[in-house]
Symmetry: C2
Subunit: 337 residues, 2 copies
Amino acid sequence: MKDMLKEYGDYTLSGIRQFIPAKEPKAYLYDLMVDYPSRGGKGFRPALCITTCNAFGGKTEQAKFSAIALELLHNAFLIHDDVEDESFNRRNKPSMHQLTNKAIAVNVGDAMNVLALYPLFKNKMVLGDKLTQTIFLEMQHLVTESTEGQALELGWRRDNCINLREADYFRMILKKTCWYTCIHPIRIGALIGTKGYINPAKFDRLGYFMGAAFQIQDDVLNLVANEKEYGKEIGGDIMEGKRTLMLIHLMGKCNSQERSFIRDFLAIPILDRSQDDAAHIFGLMEKYQSVKHAQKTSQYLAGAALKEFYTHFSALPDTLEKAFLEQMILYMIDRNY
Amino acid sequence: MKDMLKEYGDYTLSGIRQFIPAKEPKAYLYDLMVDYPSRGGKGFRPALCITTCNAFGGKTEQAKFSAIALELLHNAFLIHDDVEDESFNRRNKPSMHQLTNKAIAVNVGDAMNVLALYPLFKNKMVLGDKLTQTIFLEMQHLVTESTEGQALELGWRRDNCINLREADYFRMILKKTCWYTCIHPIRIGALIGTKGYINPAKFDRLGYFMGAAFQIQDDVLNLVANEKEYGKEIGGDIMEGKRTLMLIHLMGKCNSQERSFIRDFLAIPILDRSQDDAAHIFGLMEKYQSVKHAQKTSQYLAGAALKEFYTHFSALPDTLEKAFLEQMILYMIDRNY
C-alpha cells in the first residue's frame, strides 16, 4: 500500500511541476511553490481521489487534474496554516514563513490557491463541460468548508475558549479536515469514475469517519510520534493551544486547580509559553488517559469508516485499488507519521 | 461623478451582503467579511466594470455579479496586503489583523477569495456559459498577476533591494495594481457590454496607463494626504520600506551618504524603524523633488490614458457612463484621498 501511495504522490507531484510556470518571479514565488509539495507529503488526497476513480471503473488520467488541484490546494492550506499557527517546521524542514517571512508565505499560499484553478479548467479536455463544472463546485465547497473550520479553530484559540465539548471538536474537524482530506477526494473520484452517474453524497459518512480518524490520529502523533518521522515539532499542538480531542477530554476530567493551570497557559501568547508548562499539560493528558481516549475514538471511527466502505464498495469488482482504499482506512490509525 | 461612484459602490456592497451566508461561524468569519467592504471604499473597480459595460450598450444588471466578484477579491487582497505590510489602519479603522489577529485575518482573506467564485458562477444566469467562462479566466489571470506583483514587492523588501530602476517599479505595479484595478474591470465590462464580441486586449494600454497613474497618486497621497481623508497612517509607506517611485527616484539622485542612511533604515525590521528617520527620508524626497517627479509622471500617464480612451470610446454614443469614465481618468490624479 505504501508503494502505491508513493506512486500516486510522485504522479501528482510531476503534474504539479507542469503547472508551475517557468517564469519570474521565481525566487519570491514560483520556486517557493514547488517547495512544500517536493518535501514528500503523504499524498493521501490525490491517492484517495485516483483510486476511488479507478475502483469505479475510471482511468487514472481522468482523475489527474483533480488530483493535482487537490494537492495544490492542500499545500496552499498548509502554508497559510503554518503562518496562522506560527509553526516552525513542516515535513522536517523550516515552515514557509520561517524560510522566507510571513508576508511572502501568505502571498505564496494565495498564488497556489489560484494556480489550482488551472488544472480544474483542464478537466474539460478529459471530462467534458458538465463534469468539469461539477468538480469545480466540489472544490469550491471544499475550500469554503476548510476556511469555516479554520475560523472555528482560530477563533476558539483567540478567545481562549475552554468550555468546548467533543461535539464542538467533531464539528470543527468535519469542516477543517474531513471535507478536504477525505469526503471531497472520494466524491470527486467516484464522480469521475462513473462519468457523473452517482450521487456523491452517499460517500459523505465514509469520508467523515475516515477524516475524523485521520485528524485525531494526527493530533495523537503530534504528542507521541518520533519527531524525525513526523516532521513537525512534537508537542507543538500543546504549545500552539490547539483544541484537540485530548485537550477537550482533559479539561472535562481534570480538577479545578489543573483546569486553572491550563487556562492560564492558554491565555498567554504562543511564543511566550514555556516548554515545561507544555510538558506538564502532556503529563496531565497521560494522567487522565486523554491520549488513550483519543486513540480509542480514532479506532471506533475507523471501524465505522470500514462499515461504510463495505456498504458502498463491496459490489464493485475486486481491484488492487479497492483493496488499497480498504487498507488506507486502517492506515489512518495505524500510521506512526 | 462622485455621486455615481458612490451609487455603484452601494449597489455592489448590497450585492456583496447577499453573497455572505447568514450562518456560523459569524464572529470569526462571516461578520468579518463584510467589515472592509462596509468601510466605504472608493468602489473604483465595480464602477469601471459597470460603466464600461454600459458604455458598450450593456445593462448594469449584466455586470452585477462580476462587479461583486471584483470587489470581494479586492477586499480579500487588502486584508492580506495589510497583514503582509503590517499596516495599522485601513479606511480610518484598525486593519483586520489589528481588530482580530494575523491568523484570523489570513483566513478571512482566504474565505473571501473563494466566496468571489460564487457570483462568478451566477453569471451563467445572465450571460450564458461561454461568456461566464471567459470572465472566469479573466478573474483567474487577475489574481495570478496580483500575486506576482505582490511577490516582487515583498521580495524586494525582504532582500532590501536598493538598485531598482523605474522600469522595475512599472513592471511591478502593472502586475500588482493595473490588472486588477483597471485592465480587467474594463476588459470584463467591455466583454459583457458587447456580449463577448470584442477583443479585450485593446483596452490593456488604457488600463495600464490609468492603473499606473492611480498607483503613483496613491503612493504620493500616502505621503502628503490629510490622514483622516486618506484613512491610513501618513508616511506608512516609508516606514514599511515600500519601493515607491519616489523612493527609487530619491535613491538615484541622492549622495552616497544619504543613500547609506536610507539603506540602513530599510535594513532593520519594520516595527523597529523610527518615525524621525522616516521623516528625514521624506525630507530628502522633498529636497530632490521626488514627490514632484512622481506627480508629473502620474499626470503624463493620465494624459496617455485619456488618449487611449478617446481612441476606443469616441465612436460610442455619448452617454453619462462614457463621460463618467473620462472623468474617472482625471480623478485618478486629482483625487486627494
